[in-house]
């Protein structure tokens, strides 16, 4: 009896997966990367730089989505590992080497280490308490960046970073298009890594914790470790995002560690559709577009516009831009 029913269902599902929707979902990421990659041939350098910032910010946001959307831990302190990565990259750039991969590793390590410290305290808490402690510790790191002038340049930050190079003997990447390619390559790889992690057994563990942590303990999971691990992964990604941001901006100040960065990142996750990964990438692009690119033309009222967009999305698309056809974990 069951044998007659189950193949019908399975083939129906296969049809959906192989259909145009499934194909679109497979093609869209590749098409997006290609479109951004050829952009420098058709757009002005300021537009290329804007795309570069979007890519860098997307790494921070996709890591936060793994933490918030997949594992259910909403952090308001991701500016801390982002800023740590930015400062680490900038310090390497000014004192050590203009080689970008070196700055990248330094940024990733700084973000990961800071997250390892913050996470040790934070992931023991839940919900609003988790939100508050991540916010508080990020503010502490922000204050530290302001005070520790010998290392961070205080409130002036670190300015005039050299153009990045891919290899020690290579030429400096002066053209904005080259910088975009470098940042695009790294951020696409990061998004791919997050997608793999999210689909893995570990990703399933994270979703279980999001849905029902108590039952996870009753299944034999020591839930601290997966939560701590994902917090560190999100920290590494934030650090990578910070180092990519600096590669383009050639400048870092305590502003990179602001509460605003944390809030914008969380906003991008919600606008894009938490837990969907590619939605928040879209959200990151939108947030950077409005806050950093359009704001100067709006007499600094970018945040007002962003607030309006946010309210519209929350009311009209409660699951975010990527809502509806979100998340099918196999």
């Amino acid at each position: 009896m069951t044998a007659t029913i189950s193949p019908a269902r399975t083939s129906a599902h296969a049809a959906v997966r192989g259909g145009w929707a499934g194909r679109l979902r497979r093609v869209l990421p590749v098409a997006t990367v290609l479109a951004v990659a050829v952009a420098p041939f058709g757009v002005t350098p300021p537009v290329s730089s804007a795309l570069t910032r979007m890519c860098a910010f997307a790494v921070l946001v996709v890591g936060l989505d793994l933490l918030t959307g997949v594992a259910g831990l909403p952090s308001l302190g991701q500016a801390a590992p982002f800023g740590a990565g930015a400062y680490a990259a900038a310090i390497v750039a000014t004192r050590l080497s203009p080689v970008a991969p070196l700055q990248l590793v330094a940024g990733a390590a700084a973000g990961g280490l800071l997250a390892a410290v913050i996470g040790w305290l934070a992931v023991r808490l839940r919900g609003i308490n988790f939100l508050m402690i991540t916010l508080a510790l990020a503010e502490l790191v922000h204050a530290l960046a302001n005070q520790w002038s010998s290392l961070t340049g205080g409130s002036n930050g670190l300015v005039g970073l050299p153009f990045i190079r891919i290899a020690p003997a290579g030429p400096p990447l002066v053209a904005t298009g080259y910088v975009l390619w470098y940042v695009l390559a790294v951020s696409a790889a990061c998004v791919a890594v997050v997608v793999v992690v999210s689909r893995s057994a570990f990703g399933r563990t994270l979703r279980g914790i999001r849905d029902n942590e108590g039952r996870m303990r009753a299944l034999g999971y020591a839930t601290f470790w997966p939560k701590y691990l994902v917090f560190c992964i999100a920290g590494v990604l934030a650090g990578v995002g910070g180092s990519l941001w600096v590669a383009q901006a050639q400048f870092v100040s305590p502003g990179s560690l602001n509460f605003e960065v944390s809030a914008l990142a969380l906003m991008a996750v919600v606008i894009g559709g938490r837990g969907t990964l590619y939605g928040p990438v879209l959200g990151a692009a939108l947030v950077v577009l409005v806050r950093y690119e359009l704001s100067p033309y709006l007499a600094g009222r970018g945040m007002l516009l962003l607030g309006g967009v946010f309210i519209l999305v929350v009311y009209l698309l409660p699951k975010g831009l990527a809502g509806g056809r979100a998340r099918r974990s196999a």
Binding site: A201, R204, R215
Partner: protein, 254 residues
């Protein structure tokens, strides 16, 4: 014969209210051990203390003679003590299959692997499908658990608990809200578990208890009132008193 589960002088309280007071009992291997008692007798609290979900004030819990009192909840589950929940406790946004797979992948020790897609662990997948099929939920495997009916959620809750590979399974009012047909299916399932899995059942349905149990412990106001084979417990005057009161019951009806 060493008891598979031994509870020794276990006590637990909520603030100043003592819910479980110096309870001792021994569960024989392969037994279907029922714990009964009026509402508020401390049955669910006792389960919480045994699994480690609640902190015991005093007393010990031994599994196969090994003291597991100091282990946290997750470690006791790994040692082999699992419980089902009075209200089904599931992962409502995840597919039905994933609910079971979470338990299986933990038992297989791959819950933290990050590279291979979750569904590509063949053994995990196959074991999860087997558990689902046994629970009669195979057809629903792709649906989010949140779309299941109450009865189906109970079945899934049991399948998830069994997927942890327990030596001792604590069932907290497993048939509450189940249809007669589902209850009959459930009884078959529990009977088939012995001798591999020893079960301890908290249940209000006394017909079910005396039909299935091999041993009965009666709790009353947090303490053990009676303990023994079903026919002895059933005839006990003190038990009937605890359930029905001492004869003043009739006066309520006139």
């Amino acid at each position: 014969m060493t008891p598979v589960l031994e509870i020794d002088g276990l006590s637990g309280s909520y603030g100043s209210i003592v819910a479980v007071d110096d309870v001792s009992m021994r569960v024989a291997p392969g037994a279907r051990h029922a714990v009964i008692g009026p509402n508020g007798a401390g049955k669910s609290t006792l389960f919480g203390l045994v699994t480690g979900a609640l902190d015991a004030g005093s007393g010990r819990v031994l599994l196969d003679g090994r003291d597991i009192s100091d282990l946290p909840e997750y470690a006791r589950v790994r040692a082999g003590v699992t419980k089902t929940f009075q209200q089904p406790s599931l992962f409502l946004s995840l597919p039905v299959l994933d609910n079971v797979a979470l338990a299986v992948q933990r038992a297989a020790g791959v819950g933290l692997r990050m590279l291979r897609p979750g569904h590509r662990y063949r053994n995990v997948h196959r074991t999860a499908v087997d558990h689902l099929a046994a629970a009669g939920l195979f057809e629903r495997r792709r649906d989010p658990a949140g779309t299941l009916s109450h009865g189906e959620r109970r079945q899934l809750d049991l399948a998830v608990a069994l997927a942890t590979n327990p030596r001792v399974l604590l069932l907290d009012e497993p048939t509450a809200g189940m249809s007669a047909a589902a209850t009959a299916h459930f009884i078959e399932l529990v009977v088939a578990l012995a001798p591999r899995v020893t079960t301890v059942i908290v249940e209000h349905d006394l017909d079910l208890v005396f039909g299935v149990a091999t041993h009965v412990t009666v709790l009353h106001q947090g303490a053990v009132l009676a303990d023994g084979p079903p026919h002895l417990v059933r005839g006990s005057a003190t038990v009937q008193q605890a359930y029905l009161g001492d004869g003043v019951v009739e006066s309520l009806f006139y």
